[in-house]
């Protein structure tokens, strides 16, 4: 789901940066309020976990692969803004050091994988919090939301950017194709993986460190 450079039109990149910058500004303020000696090691290790989890490419039928993100566990433990900032940091390291995801498309990737996943996951967890499997549902929904945002940005391209002969200039597959392929794969495979990671992580942390999950419980 990491959109490389050259896949989105300059206009799309500009809009996503314009949307992401103020969100990052708010997120940094929220992070400053949340960070202290107790929370910092947890947020740091969950950010590192998010980075590593994204390296586990899971092959699926149809000749593609994908991965979980780990944003939703951060979101239900420390709030969506902290999760958005933390996963953005992991994505930035991936883009700058490893070329996984572009630099011009960094804002788009952050809006999809970091923001949409964190906020939707957080809201779903809030709505279902009495249910045993709320963390799974939150992880599932967050990942699904991420794939919708990324698929929308990619699939939009052939509708808005073609050359004189009608050939797409950037990502070539249309909205219907991209939505079906990308969102479908996530609903079937990667969203359940994110759900499982969220459920296991949350249940485990609540058992051994009840203080940490008090706010969200």
């Amino acid at each position: 789901m990491h959109i490389p450079d050259g896949y989105l039109s300059p206009a799309t990149c500009a809009v996503t940066w314009a949307a992401a910058l103020p969100l990052w500004a708010v997120a940094l303020r929220k992070v400053r309020a949340k960070l202290d000696e107790t929370t910092l090691p947890y947020i740091a290790s969950l950010t590192a976990l998010s980075f590593v989890i994204m390296m586990f490419n899971i092959p699926i039928p149809g000749g593609t692969s994908g991965h979980a993100v780990g944003a939703v566990l951060l979101a239900i433990l420390f709030g969506p803004w902290v999760a958005f900032a933390a996963v953005s940091m992991a994505l930035l390291v991936q883009a700058l050091l490893f070329g996984d995801g572009g630099v011009t498309t960094f804002a788009a990737n952050a809006l999809g994988m970091a923001a949409a996943g964190s906020f939707v996951g957080y809201w779903v967890f809030g709505a279902l919090r009495r249910w045993r499997f709320a963390p799974f549902a939150a992880g599932y929904a967050g990942m699904a939301a991420s794939s919708v945002v990324i698929a929308f940005l990619l699939g939009l391209q052939p509708h808005i950017a073609v050359d004189a002969q009608g050939k797409p200039l950037y990502f070539p597959f249309d909205l219907a194709t991209t939505m079906t392929a990308l969102v479908g794969a996530h609903l079937l495979f990667f969203a359940p993986v994110e759900g499982l990671f969220t459920q296991l992580g949350y249940t485990f942390l609540r058992r051994i460190e009840p203080e940490l999950t008090k706010e969200s419980a």
Binding site: M1, G6, L46, H67, V93, F98, V103, Y170, T178
Partner: protein, 99 residues
């Protein structure tokens, strides 16, 4: 404290297992090589062919001189190290700001 140690242990375990992430020979949907577009469309979209921009020092989690698995290991360690260092700096800044 126990939770912290458990998370560090989980992180160490995942780093050890990270070559499993290489099992898939297939790229993510949409993240294809240019040859894929050539085959599927008969051309490579101009923006993709001409994509310039950042040249990452360790593209695709590979380290020059190391094999695929070694490079993936080192990339995982390096990425986690950079994130840990950033948080260490943030923590230090925080202490200074409050002290």
């Amino acid at each position: 404290m126990r939770g912290r140690r458990a998370l560090y242990a989980l992180l160490a375990l995942l780093i050890m297992l990270v070559p499993l992430g290489l099992l898939s020979p297939d790229p993510a949907w949409g993240e294809w090589e240019e040859s894929f577009y050539e085959k599927a469309l008969g051309f490579v979209p101009e923006g993709i062919a001409k994509a310039s921009g950042w040249h990452a020092p360790l593209p695709d989690y590979s380290v020059p001189g190391l094999g695929e698995v070694g490079g993936y290991y080192l990339s995982a360690l390096l990425g986690v190290g950079v994130i840990a260092a950033l948080f260490w700096l943030i923590g230090r800044g925080l202490k200074r700001g409050r002290g």
